[in-house]
């Protein structure tokens, strides 16, 4: 595992941002931390980067305790954050010139390629760049040294669709063997990138899964009944977001199994005429899980 977090707790004066968060990231994967605002995603990433120190628990990054991460490890980690403060008085080119000597593995050809791809204006001061340009600039500064681990904190937040596409393309084009850990609310855009996902809520991990397993496991189920549907009082806890409309009862099954679903449905509902299932996009999975988490009806996988 390239990143491991065990029972991370981060407590501020009045707020508990993380409450026993544990997760792990395999080398080479693209791991997304998703969850509602205030779930603790940014705090978790800052703990991994040693920008914050945990109140309790521990995390390791590249095999090093996160609290011991120094400039040596930072030469192997790229980090981009939506609210990163770049040195505004330097020009784009000046900043690349400044950063280059700090990274032993800096690839100038790759830098030129990325800068060209992202169309960064070299002579402009960083403070004069738009938010989107600054995010592209931050990404462009995080890639030329071919980091083993790229940590992205809401990299697409507040960007226009074109900038989002360019950044996602930038990530994909350079992904290679690199491990990516990102947090984002822009689930539609990152769905094509991520291989694993962890859902956080209220500073805790709700579940962690690979995208393939998640897509297979979480399905939208529509049960067509012979008569008008009404949700029964007792339903399996893995069925969330239950809605009834006419003779159709719809829900999201978070433990979908093609083999067992018909029997489970028929054991709970009478007069089942037909069962239809659909794979859900990540955004819909997130929405369903977030609602369920808010209602307190979701179970940790």
């Amino acid at each position: 595992m390239i990143v491991e977090a065990h029972d991370l707790v981060k407590r501020y004066v009045r707020v508990e941002a993380l409450n026993g968060l544990s997760f792990s990231v395999e080398a080479g994967s693209a791991f997304a931390l998703i969850g509602p605002s205030g779930a603790g995603k940014t705090t978790a990433l800052k703990l991994l980067m040693n920008l914050l120190q945990p109140t309790a628990g521990r995390a390791s990054v590249l095999g090093i305790d996160s609290r011991r991460i120094t400039h040596r490890e930072l030469a192997r980690i790229g980090y981009v954050s939506e609210n990163q403060v770049l040195p505004g008085r330097l020009t784009v080119s000046d900043y690349f010139d400044y950063l280059r000597p700090f990274y032993p593995r800096w690839d100038r050809a790759l830098e030129a390629s990325i800068r060209q791809h992202l169309q960064l204006p070299g002579e402009r001061r960083i403070r004069d760049l738009s938010h989107g340009m600054r995010m592209k600039m931050a990404l462009a500064c995080a890639l030329p040294f071919r980091p083993e681990l790229l940590i992205l904190d809401e990299p697409l937040s507040g960007l226009d669709p074109l900038a989002r596409d360019e950044i996602v393309e930038g990530m994909l084009s350079q992904a290679g063997e690199m491990t990516i850990v990102l947090s984002s609310q822009e689930l539609s855009e990152i769905e094509s990138v991520v291989t694993h996902v962890a859902f956080l809520d209220d500073g805790r991990l709700v579940f962690q899964d690979s995208m393939d397993d998640l897509r297979a496991r979480v399905r939208e189920v529509r049960v067509i009944l012979e008569s008008t549907a009404a949700p029964p009082e007792a339903l399996p806890g893995t069925w969330i977001n239950v809605r009834a409309s006419g003779n159709v009862l719809a829900f999201v099954d978070t433990q979908y199994s093609e083999q067992h679903l018909p029997n489970r449905v028929r054991s709970c509902l009478r007069g089942v005429r037909r069962i239809e299932t659909d794979a859900l996009p990540l955004r819909s999975i997130f929405t369903a899980l977030a609602r369920a988490a808010r209602d307190g009806s979701v179970r940790v996988a």
């Binding site: 930072l74 030469a75 980090y79 040195p87 330097l90 400044y98 700090f102 931050a138």
Partner: protein
């Protein structure tokens, strides 16, 4: 990487560096440019203005270089770059050394050389000044910058700390009943300053260490900043014994064991007053903090007529609510010409029942050594009601003195009009005749070294015989190093010709004379106790 970071900071901040250096150079020039007699108001104001502007620029520069990579917060890009913290710290300190203090050394060195001071003294003074400024002011500002994110935060924090210092002074002063502190205004003032500087420097280094090498230490850093602000205020109230011990430990000479002090109880107040001859300098003396350009009257003035006559500070007029008691003293073991300076005199009057009826500081006492036995007079002010109650009763008087013995150090003879001489250790002195309010010989010295604790001037005729009273000016400073943040210090005195005799008013006569200049330095610090077992205040009352 240190130089790489430094180059980046230079790229961003060179205009500020150039501006601050230029302001500093102009401020220095405003001091030495007009020469020895450049203490006139326009130059002093110009130097003040430029010096203050340079100081503001210096604060901005320190803040700017530290805030290029702010240490508080988690959003700064540099925090996630492979920049070793020790390299960053070294780069910042090197930047300040090279871009702020090296120009100050250069400007000071060039200015001192241009003023005719020897290269060695000029260089050493410039380096010492820059070094002390760096160790105290720059490090303190660096520490404050390291706990803030931008100049606005730094200025607000600075204002808060100023308020904190004021509050601490109110508390300390209120608790001790002494608003000025134990050593304020005395030659021992350096001990408090040195301890404060040491504490501030230490706290600054702790804060910088915490901020650069410990994550999440901001609360501790703020605590140290506050301690480093409040505690130094308390150092102004160090016990006198402690400061005396510190002073004695760095003094060059052994305690003046031969000097003894006794009350001359054979006389009476009237006789004593009759013998006393008050001679005070009537023209202003100058002790200029040259770079700042502030001219202020010397705090204390020792007037005398030479070693062969009794030199006294005049009997001050008692306030309405006070009565002054004049106690004649006899001092032996004091070499002719030497100065015995009472830095502190704690007096107590005790009645026959052992009750303390008065306790307080006796008036300042400065004694000039005469051949044989030296006479002097100690003035004691007591509240009128105490005096009235005990005027005709026997009281026991105890005075605990802390004395400093000052002896002759450097001397020179120069023409009283247009004379100029360079003394060793980097002290350039000169004279000229001025005719402002009234004719006077203006004597000024510009120095890059420590100004003397006392100096005396006297006009002599060609045969070396004194033709006019010697004037002595003291502003004791017993520091073993050169104090202050300014390179050039100016001091001197205007010798009014009406005071020395109307015949000197004519330039031609004056040019036949010479001016003798002597400096005095502290050689020993020691205590003495004066006890008069039975003293009736009414018999010793002064005017």
């Amino acid at each position: 990487m240190i130089l790489h970071i430094l180059r980046k900071d230079w790229t961003l901040l060179w205009p500020v560096v150039v501006l601050v250096a230029a302001l500093r150079a102009l401020a220095e020039w405003a001091v030495y440019g007009p020469g020895l007699f450049g203490d006139e108001l326009p130059w002093a104001m110009g130097s003040d203005l430029l010096g203050n502007a340079a100081a503001v620029g210096w604060v901005v520069l320190v803040a700017a270089v530290v805030h290029q990579e702010p240490l508080s917060g988690t959003r700064e890009d540099w925090l996630i770059r492979p920049i070793a913290r020790w390299q960053l710290l070294c780069a910042k300190l090197l930047f300040l050394a090279l871009m702020v203090h090296a120009p100050i050394v250069l400007v000071g060195f060039v200015g001192a050389m241009a003023s005719g001071f020897p290269p060695g003294a000029s260089f050493m003074a410039s380096v010492a000044r820059a070094g002390s400024n760096f160790a105290v002011y720059t490090l303190a500002m660096f520490a404050l910058a390291s706990v803030t994110r931008n100049l606005t935060q730094l200025l607000v924090s600075g204002a808060g700390l100023v308020l904190l210092v004021s509050a601490a002074q109110l508390v300390w002063g209120g608790l001790s009943g002494d608003w000025d502190g134990t050593v304020s205004g005395s030659g021992y003032a350096w001990t408090g300053e040195f301890a404060r500087a040491l504490l501030v420097c230490l706290c600054a280094m702790i804060v910088i260490g915490l901020q650069y090498f410990r994550r999440g230490a901001i609360a501790w850093s703020y605590a140290v900043v506050i301690l480093g602000t409040v505690l130094p205020v308390g150092l102004a109230y160090l016990p006198w014994d402690v400061t005396l011990a510190a002073q004695q430990s760095v003094s060059r000479g052994a305690p003046a064991a031969r000097v003894t002090l006794e009350a001359d109880t054979s006389g009476r107040a009237a006789e004593s007053e009759g013998r006393a001859r008050l001679i005070s300098a009537t023209s202003p003396t100058v002790d200029e903090d040259a770079t700042a350009g502030a001219i202020r009257a010397a705090r204390r003035r020792l007037a005398g007529v030479g070693p062969d006559e009794l030199a006294l500070q005049g009997v001050p007029h008692a306030e309405d609510e006070d009565a002054s008691i004049a106690v004649p003293l006899v001092v032996s073991g004091l070499a002719p010409g030497a100065i015995l300076w009472a830095d502190r005199a704690d007096a107590r009057l005790i009645d026959a029942g052992g009750r303390e009826v008065f306790s307080g500081a006796a008036e300042e006492l400065q004694i000039r050594g005469a051949p044989g036995v030296t006479e002097a007079r100690q003035i004691l002010r007591v509240p009128l009601h105490v005096y009235a109650e005990h005027a005709h009763r026997d009281l026991r008087l105890e005075i605990d003195y802390t004395f400093t013995l000052l002896t002759r150090d450097l001397s020179a003879v120069l023409r009283p009009n247009g004379g100029e001489t360079m003394l060793p250790d980097g002290m350039n002195c000169g004279t000229r005749l001025v005719r402002e309010m009234r004719p006077a010989v203006r004597f000024r010295c510009l120095t890059v070294a420590k100004p003397p604790s006392c100096f005396s001037v006297a006009l002599l005729n060609n045969a070396g015989t004194r033709r006019a009273p010697e004037l002595a000016v003291c502003n004791p400073d017993y520091a073993p190093y050169r104090r202050g943040s300014h390179l050039f210090r100016r001091f001197g005195i205007d010798i009014p010709l009406s005071h020395v005799g109307p015949e000197y008013a004519r330039r031609s006569i004056l040019e036949d004379r010479v001016l003798s200049f002597v400096t005095y330095e502290a050689r020993a610090h020691f205590t003495r106790r004066l006890v008069i077992p039975a003293l009736r205040p009414g018999e010793w009352r002064g005017r």
